[in-house]
Amino acid sequence: MSEHEDIEALAGEYVLGTLEAAERSAVTARREREPQLAAAIEAWERRLAPLVEAAEAVEPPGGLYARIEAEIAAQAGLAGAGGSAAGAETADLARRLRRWRAAAFAGGALAAGLVLVILAQNLLRRPEPANFIAVLQKDAASPAFLIEVDLRSRILTVRPVAAEPRAGKSYELWIINAKLGAPRSLGVIANQGFTIRPALKDYDSSIVQSATFAVTLEPEGGSPTGAPTSAPLWTGRLVQATP
């Protein structure tokens, strides 16, 4: 097989989707630095794209556009607050965390491995009240995830603070409340940025407010069984963030 045919076959299979994970990542990396391969991939995308036209459309849930808008607003808000430098956003979060933690200590709200904090300032710079937040952590020195819940829209926003992405694993968020019985999954948390979803829309607000939120490390894509497969690594509970 000539080199040209090799590239065509590889690009074709990449677009078709039949490559295994390791081959896919290798091609994803190679297309950045091999214009010939990149061009072959784009040509295959064009060749096969009419199939999308032929395929059945499935209406996404009505709330999805609102989630996209919220994610865009969150990105814009953070970019505005933290500047464009990559570290600025983290620094800004770290600064807010210190402030929250100080508030929590002052209020005597530190309890058994989780810190409940009062957010003086809206994390996402959205003006609406009825916002609740939680910091999920093992101990006071190691916050891992921030959660914000808007009880009116039931939209849950979660983002990693210090949790490191783990190859081949996903962090999954759970809601735990005796009234619910077993822990219920709130979905997998993206490794970076905000994960925003109306995951709480089926839960009563009193249950949400008194629940413990926990994060476990699961196989990539989330627990295959629907139940946590590891002990919680981080936990926390919600406190009201705005009056």
Binding site: T18, L19, T28, E42, P50, L51, A54, A55, A57, I68
Partner: protein, 171 residues
């Protein structure tokens, strides 16, 4: 798309409403879980808002560009999960039903007509493999199980089918 690149929210909303059902269907067929498909579609549209300026109309139509982003993300996710099992593939999947029936009597684009004509020239099993892979994210392993053939044979069949398609489409 150029209006989206200029931060036109109305254009972005129109783009979403015109394309999101196609994109959600595309992600859902590959991922087979609504929550994962919702996450991918959310991520991709947020990315499109950020990166609409990267769209190159000379290289692809907006739908081709967007579908490629959705499929790549969905395939990345599904390939890193546990290997797809035989029973995960849609039962009774028929390419004719999938491709032809929904469009019967409707206008087909020139590109789709030509692609379907070329797919028809593949033998039926190979055509079905191509469609299972493209629509449902079937891996070589899943195809090997389904067609009871060794993985290297599947790979050879895929390469031959792709070469034949490319030849047919360029004629």
């Amino acid at each position: 798309m150029s209006r989206v690149a200029r931060r036109d929210r109305a254009a972005f909303a129109a783009l979403y409403h015109a394309t999101s059902a196609k994109m959600f269907g595309t992600a859902l067929r590959i991922l087979r879980r609504r929550d994962l498909a919702e996450d991918i579609v959310q991520e991709v549209y947020a990315k499109i808002w950020e990166r609409a300026g990267d769209f190159d109309a000379a290289k692809a139509s907006p739908i081709t560009w967007m579908a490629a982003i959705v499929r790549n993300r969905a395939l990345d996710v599904v390939r890193r999960k546990a290997p797809m099992q035989l029973e995960d593939l849609p039962e009774g999947f028929e390419p004719a039903a999938q491709v032809s029936d929904p469009l019967a009597g409707r206008d087909r684009s020139e590109g789709l007509r030509k692609l379907l004509a070329c797919l028809d020239k593949l033998d039926p099993q190979k055509r079905q493999m191509v469609l299972l892979a493209y629509y449902h994210g079937a891996s070589r392993d899943a195809l090997a199980q389904r067609y009871d053939a060794p993985v290297p044979t599947i790979k050879t069949w895929l390469h031959r089918s792709l070469a034949q398609l490319r030849g047919c489409l360029s004629s």
